[in-house]
Subunit: 197 residues, 2 copies
Amino acid sequence: MRLRDETKEQAIREQAMKMIVREGFDGLSMQKLAKAAGVSPATIYIYFKDREDLIRQIYYEEMQMMSQETLRGFDPAMHFDEGLRVQWMNRANYCMKYPLRMHFMEQMRHSPFHEKFQTDAQNPFSVAMKVFVMNAIQRNELVKLPVEVYWSVAYAPLYQLIKFQQSEQGMPGWGKFVLDEKVLEQTLSLVLKALKP
Amino acid sequence: MRLRDETKEQAIREQAMKMIVREGFDGLSMQKLAKAAGVSPATIYIYFKDREDLIRQIYYEEMQMMSQETLRGFDPAMHFDEGLRVQWMNRANYCMKYPLRMHFMEQMRHSPFHEKFQTDAQNPFSVAMKVFVMNAIQRNELVKLPVEVYWSVAYAPLYQLIKFQQSEQGMPGWGKFVLDEKVLEQTLSLVLKALKP
DNA sequence: CAAAAATAAACGAACGTTCTTTTATTTAAA
DNA sequence: TTTAAATAAAAGAACGTTCGTTTATTTTTG
């Protein structure tokens, strides 16, 4: 029996992300993907049931990787300031390290696939976040508010900064924008100011 | 000479947005669109040069409408608190009134089309925003910071709230989320707290 | 009746997927 | 140790369908 060449699967995943980021879901065709990955179209169907399964599998794996990196060095029992900072820096680092993956996820999150591929609420990431927020509120390190409000104030600004950085230009007419340590710290401190009692 | 039936063009635009919102750019085919709009495929090409032009035109028109609604009752000379509140409420109202349009724009903004269809920095909206921010900083009603940081803290949380609302469910595992006046005010006050000196 | 709007039908190209064949590797009888 | 059966990976070519777009024609109306 012939063994699977795992580099082929990885090439398929990588090229698929590239195509989606560059041309959108429109631009992802199985035949073009096969060519880009240096593989026969039929080979893709050994690893993935169909086109949607391909997208779904990549999404789930990337989701898991990102969650894992986001939780690195994080403990739900942490003081709110510290916990939020750890998560910000983890996310920012991940984005700098893997811009393609981040870009892919960003596009995923705002497509109809996102609702189609709902993740369950029992995954480690959701659980950790839930505990973290409840702890912080109980200890009076965080103002009491609905999770959605918390999430919107705590992380949406970060993702917007990352989007500015990705697009290689910030607001139209204000010149180039670079997301460096200083800007990150500045924004985080504003967010903390908003959320702390 | 026969006159154009403007309802046809409107039907095409409307159905195109619906298809894109429901199935993504993948799901927008000219033949399906023609059928949905009750029109012949060839008719679409009377109003739009090609598929990309169709998307571009819809995008530009929606962009313009949204900008216009966002600036309703707004004056760049306003006090920062008031100006920001007006914009928040305008955006929120627009989203409640036209969820389809908002959803379409949200999807647009995070697709490769967004970078392809760059808008110029001289449009009334960008200009008004620029003046507003510079005024507020000069009057010491707003902390001094890069525009991108301002934008991220001031509006990203609002758009995230709207996204939660659109998805008909907030964070996984926390029950349903509704974006009402109270939540909006609460979040806005947090944002103001962050941005005011 | 002139002219533009609107259509039905059709074009070649590209789509997702599958069918058939070949290739590589393991297994085990000789 | 040799060799051939067995099996899954991988490939290439092709399937029928749908794609975006155009052409030829009809319909509508100033």
